[in-house]
Amino acid sequence: MLRYLLNKIALLIPTLVGITICAFAFVRLLPGDPILAMAGEHGVTPARYEELKQQFGYNLPIWEQYARYVGEVVTGDFGVSISSKRPVLEEFKTLFPATLELSFFAMIFAMIIGIPAGIFAAVKRGSWFDQSLMGTALVGYSMPIFWWGLLLIIFFSGYLGWTPVNGRIDLQYFFKPITGFMTVDTLIYGKWAAFRSVLRHLVLPTIVLGTIPLAVIARQTRSAMLEVLGEDYVRTARAKGLSSARVIGVHALRNALIPVVTTIGLQVSTLLAGAILTETIFSWPGIGRWMVESISKRDYVVVQSGLLLIALVVMAVNLIVDVLYAVINPRIRAA
């Protein structure tokens, strides 16, 4: 197991180097000059432009800029935002809990609906339920997040008035964050009304962000379940006279869940990508919105370090999934 883990970690190093190169290169390949973006519509004289270029180090050869960047990242210095002048790592740490909290709820939502729906569709294969579930899953998977989010806001918040339009909590509640997770912080402070407000604010963004993973998980569970239901050991279990619930719940599901766990792990990157749009629509102060705003401001430092930090999170989650996978499926470790 330890060897398996070390192997996986060793593989992360070239990935990490690749990511630093990509983050560095992509940002520079973006059209638009960060200095002109900063100067705004006043424009900037050629002399002042050169002065600023020097100040920000953009006059250095590209490899030197890269070497500088990697050198800083290795020592844990992710730079300072060009626009806010705050350390990027500090901003990331402040905003990441919001994204994590939303992603967590979106994933729970996707799992508690997606897995049972997938199981049921597999068991009732070919039924109207199966057909309509798979159809709905396809629609869910293809839904443009931006449109879906606005539609829900206009209907549930605007027309029915059931949910708040956006934000994380009603503005009347005001306290210093402890963990950054509003659900946890409100409980620590013992503010029940605030806790309820947080949950109400989570409803729509959770649905929006969880829709694609829900569709993927439901489809994956169904196909894994179908595969397992045809296996000999399931037939044997049935032949032994076990109840249908026991055969499906214990014998089939445990084995069917193995590929589902991988799928769930892979959905973390989908969630982070979806967070970019979801957070923008719902004014959710997370890293998705932070990246969007930084790109439009041509804040090179935030974009490249933000990309790297997000990639690190995705890699860490994938590593955990790989380990979990090996724990549930011993054959992987041996391979």
């Binding site: 973006l30 059209p31 638009g32 000059d33 002109l36 973006a37 900063m38 100067a39 705004g40 519509e41 006043h42 424009g43 900037v44 004289t45 050629p46 002042r48 600023l52 100040q55 920000f56 300072v80 060009i82 626009s83 806010s84 002048k85 705050r86 901003e91 402040t94 905003l95 919001a98 606005l150 806001i153 206009i154 918040s157 605007g158 708040p164 339009v165 956006n166 934000g167 994380r168 503005l171 009347q172 509640y173 005001f174 964050p177 402070y189 013992g190 503010k191 029940w192 009304a193 605030a194 923008t280 629509i281 719902f282 004014s283 102060p285 997370g286 919105r289 932070w290 705003e293 041509r298």
Partner: protein, 532 residues
Amino acid sequence: MKKTMTFAAALLAASVLSGMASAKTLVYCSEASPANFDPGTTTGGNDFDASSRTVYSRLVEFKHGGTEIEPGLADKWEISDDGLVYTFHLHPGVKFQTTDYFKPTRDLNADDVVFSFDRQFNKENPWNGDKYLPNLTWDYYTGMDMPKYVAKWEKVDDLTVKLTLTEPNAPMLANLGMDFASIVSKEYADQLQKDGKMADFSTKPVGTGPFQFVDYQLDSVIRYAANPDYFKGKEKIDDLVFAITPDATARIQKVLAGECDIAPYPNPADIATIKANKDVTLMDQAGLNIGYMSYNTTIPPLDKPEVRHALNQAIDREALIKSLFQDAGATPAENLIPPTMWSWDKDVKTDAYNPDEAKKVLEAAGLKEIQLWAADRVRPYNPNFQRAAELIQADWAKVGVKADIVNYEWTKYREEGKKKDRPGAFQIGWTGDNGDPDNFFATLFACSAIGVSNYSSWCDKDFEDLIQKAKKTSDQAERTKLYEQAQVIFAKEAPAFLLAHSQVYSVVRNNVTGYKMDPLGIHRFDGVDKAE
């Protein structure tokens, strides 16, 4: 057990208190997060709304809802006859805000004023560079040419400050009403420097403005409380909250749902919905802006005014404006400056639609092909450069001119567009900074702006003489005459096609009173009240 009970009671009390609505809270749904709270270091309108217009005051202020200058921290001022020396007399007894991170021990004095400007240009000042914040560029201070015009700031006594200029510059007073000219506390700066916490100056602001900073949750909520010591009297609302809501549709939904009291910049597509709602009012104002299209006047045949006039005449401007601005509407521009600005000459008119006449002139000039530039951004003065380009292209095709549309990303677009030898017609625009006509005429069409923001590369001696003379004259009546003459020359020479001055909108709930739209595009909450 007793301790547990006390703790539970405290929790309950805290919970009850937190659940209680604040005395009188005004919620503004702002469009973006502020970069920071030091207006000297930022450039965005949303940055200024959150800092300079709430927390800070300036020596002089723009009249609420207008562009005229009125006293601010300076009760009065004198300008020497040669226009070189400005003497400001400060209002006595102005207090800096008392917060949980700073307790002022003295009132505002001349040291604060001198420090507020000195830090923006003096490289020796520790607050000018990296010791305070990394990569500071003081964009507005340099952008408004302050280093060129300011010779020195001096303290005469505690309540008198003297500004000496290098040459007369009439727009200086308007510059001093701008956000970058907000007056900060030297005492607070000294305290932070001593404590080694200089960066806090940009995150925990202290000013003399109507509201004092309470808290900022990054990218989410900014909270302010009315400044009890505000020198113009405490505000009627107790708490001001900025709920940061970047998406325009969500912002409007929040106002309609009563989650916000005021929200700026609705989507044009939402205007009809807003107008139909009886709980809110759609406020509008002609923006202090201009959308235009610069011809490069140095490249034949665009160097001939008659060709430029003919290209203007070929465009059906009314249809173009209708298609671009839709329900939001816009005022067709007759002049470079908008009608709300002093010195606007109502008698000056731009070219009327006349494709037949245009065709004759363009055929005679042999103009068959032209580059037509379009950026990828939505700007207040032009919501869709590409659509505008396509409509103009169709109009020009009717008079026998084939337009090739050139597209670039926004910053690259301006970089390419400002080049002296850039060919063709370049769509651009401008939003005024300080309500002074110089901020339009000189910024956009002075000879010295060629290669920076004079996209027409137009340098007309008569026009230049007039605007430079107007810059050096303090007498507004005389300046008005000079700018009127400049407008006549502009209309005759037609270095650009003038499109429109767009309308700016805000949505306000009906129980809010005293809110005024501002031509400068800023959002101010002093004087605003809210009925329960």
